[in-house]
């Protein structure tokens, strides 16, 4: 049995169509209170691009490819780690009047710029 897949032509179109529909439906009835965390969360999800970066870098055979591939992984890793960090921080803050667990501070607030 061969496990290598070929996603061309209609197979690819089916994947694109179903995934797009899925994304649309999942976000469909989200309350406004979660808009920012969700934008950040979906930003984290496209961090999967780092996997593509790894593929490109591991298969690089010239210095040009290696250089660009290195930056692909570097930026992709930044997308993943940063996206997760900020989303997790935002979501950890939601709680109801009922829950008494005090919110753990993970950082000190730096001074804000005046606007």
């Amino acid at each position: 049995m061969n496990f290598q897949i070929a996603l061309t032509g209609f197979a690819a179109l089916y994947i694109f169509m179903l995934a797009a529909f899925g994304g649309w439906v999942i976000i469909g009835n989200v309350p406004a209170i979660l808009h920012t965390p969700l934008m950040s969360g979906s930003n984290f999800v496209h961090g999967i691009v780092v996997v593509g970066g790894l593929y490109a870098l591991l298969n690089a055979s010239t210095v040009t490819e290696q250089t660009i591939g290195f930056f692909a992984v570097l930026m992709g890793a930044g997308n993943v780690a940063g996206g997760y960090a900020v989303t997790d921080r935002m979501l950890a803050m939601f709680k109801t009047s009922g829950s008494h667990a005090p919110h753990k501070r993970t950082h000190k607030k730096p001074a804000l710029k005046k606007v």
Binding site: F3, Q4, I5, L7, A12, F16, W24, I27, L34, H35, T36, M39, S42, N43, F44, H46, G47, I48, V49, G52, L54, Y55, L57, L58, N59, A60, S61, T62, T64, E65, I68, G69, F70, F71, A72, M75, G76, A77, G78, N79, V80, A81, G82, Y84, A85, V86, D88, R89, L91, A92, F94, K95, S97, H103, H107, K109, P110, L112, K113, V115
Partner: protein, 482 residues
Amino acid sequence: MFTNLTHLITGAADLAAAFLFMYGLKRMSSPVSAPSGIRVAGFGMLVAILANFLAVFTVDPAAKPHLPVNIILAVVALLLGASVAWFKGRTVAMTEMPQMVAIYNGLGGGAAGAIAAVELYGNKTHGATQLLLALLGGLIGAVSLSGSVIAWAKLDEVLKKPLRFPGQRYLNAAVLFAALVVAGYIVFTLQQGGAALLPMATLLSIFFGLTLLVGILVTLPIGGADMPVVISIYNAATGLAVGFDGYVIQDPALMIAGMVVGAAGTLLTLLMAKAMNRSVSNVLFSNFGEISKKKRGKMKGSEKPVEASDAGIFMRYAASVIIIPGYGLAVAQAQEKLYEFVKLLQAAGVKVRFAVHPVAGRMPGQMDVLLAEAGVPYDLIFQLDDINGDFANTDVALVIGANDVVNPAARTDKSSPIYGMPILNADKAKKVYVVKRGQGKGYSGIENELFYEDNCFMVYGDAQAVLVKMIESVRGLGAAAA
């Protein structure tokens, strides 16, 4: 055999990751399950990254001699990129969240563009479809990278003024057209197999240079107030670019995750634009700031100042108070003081609620996050549609650091640039207190009629200092009674 096993493992991991991403996003769409949602998605990411390292066993024969170097490069890039971004993401202030989302999104777009570039420079695409999608992914990724960087610079106030000049739109269109022409020429040459005017690497460099320029030029004229919509557009665009890259390198996890984000980001963009009463094309192609610069008529009446302590005591004896927080509250870092004041009022039997406008803060939903950070339970926080009817039978509306979102001109003045935007009906409350640093206009530079209404009183001062005075005055009452 071994190669096949690798394909089996990465295939299964990609499948699991795709499921976990969608399930995680689904959980993220309710406040109760949201924190677990990001962890579910995070676990999916970890599975996908680890499994795809098995690609070391299936590399191209041409890349075999370079494999040790490439592995070292990959590990260094992973650790370096992840640790810097992780540290920054953990320590940045909540008010600067929009900038961070912009920059992380730009990184994703850059990565997508770079992957397309590796495939194109190495001439690794097979067939016209892969070539076209690589060029398209490269174009969208590069635009998303440079556009997000400009958006970050604007939100971080590195760039202060929108840059506008006559004929700008034609220049933007011309640069985009030039990029498309170069792309078309690349496809033509590679498909025909003929000799090109320039070496392929040069053509590709021109192509990527032009696309980066498009992102910069398109984003420069857009004002700061519209930036959230722009970031959301680039978020969706990056998703799309990742999806196309997935096709080029034949990775279903990238195809699915990219397309899910592309669609979800598009819907989120439309929701945000709707909340701001702006159409997406309006945001991208009209100059918001120019309308508001028009000379506007003199306001009737005057702004009536009042002492913070008087306002505090009045609210202590009110039956109900609705608080409307805005970005000014966050700038003064007064959310925690505000919640302290709210707890005092609650202890005195006042019904206190928060009314949050969809675009309060610099990004839809950001104010909810800032209040949550201060410890305000989210069942005290109400959205525009749920609370707007209640202002008429509320004693006090307390507006702190908000301006445009309570401007009645949005309902009445057809010439106002915010006409038609849904606003919080603070003016309908029996009494309105507005806490504001001084006389002046809001973020969009529009005069606010509310401040001149008969039932509206101004408390001038820094939000933090004002709240301290309010707290002291209410506490003073308690001490006098005891």
